[in-house]
Amino acid sequence: MVEPGFDSEGDDAFDVTIVLDDARLGGAELGRILLAVQTALLREGDKRFPIVTFTTEDELALDVEPEP
């Protein structure tokens, strides 16, 4: 899922949600994904930063009001 958003400087950014399956992805794989996404956007001339959020199908299914 990709939506427009803003980075910490208030510049245009992408809010990217990556839904993981049950298998836990390791840091090396997540790092490769981030590097690929960031460089692909830059290669296309898009300077918006992709702010990635991770979630799982289970979390989406159980989406309830947050604990305070």
Binding site: S8, A13, G26, G27, Q38, L42, F49, T53, T56
Partner: protein, 170 residues
């Protein structure tokens, strides 16, 4: 060993995302976990700079402290952002290898920039609901940032640290 071990910040983050007996972890714990994951990387790079310029054996000295604290978040964001660009800015060209930087330093840069953004959101934006998987992802990214930096060649690590504290003039 310094009095502050950067990996302990990430281990602290792991403890924060453990669910209590009932319900999910509190939002404040998930947010602090993301923040700690970033600060683990930030202190890791501060120590790398000070170890390079002053030496780890002098870490109780005032000079070590000065160098350790000389790195700021925006300088780190700038160099990380520039080094993942397919064509780094002209001002870097005299410093970078003609073959470009390796994947490890670029992965460090990408994961650190991502953690900076996530930390900012976790610390300052009350709106989004933080999920456990997101905090766990930030923790994995924190470990990966440190690991990828350590995997990089010595020459590339030194180059990164030099560009961080001595950014080339435009």
């Amino acid at each position: 060993m310094s009095s502050l071990n950067p990996e302990h910040l990430i281990e602290q983050a792991e403890r924060l995302i453990v669910a209590p007996p009932h319900g999910p972890p509190r939002q404040v714990d998930l947010r602090r976990a993301i923040s700690s994951a970033y600060y683990g990387v930030f202190h890791f790079i501060n120590a790398a700079v000070a170890n390079e310029l002053v030496g780890a054996i002098h870490q109780q000295s005032g000079r070590y402290q000065l160098v350790y604290r000389s790195v700021d978040h925006s300088a780190l964001a700038l160099v990380c952002g520039d080094l993942i660009k397919p064509s780094p800015p002209q001002r870097y060209l005299d410093c970078l290898p003609t073959s470009g930087l390796g994947a490890d330093i670029r992965t460090f840069s990408a994961t650190t920039r991502e953690l900076q953004q996530k930390r900012h959101q976790a610390d300052y934006d009350p709106k989004p609901r933080i999920r456990t998987a997101d905090a766990r992802g930030a923790i994995e990214l924190g470990y990966e940032a440190m690991t990828s930096f350590q995997r990089a060649s010595e020459a590339e690590r030194k180059l990164f640290l030099t560009l961080l504290v001595c950014p080339p003039r435009a």
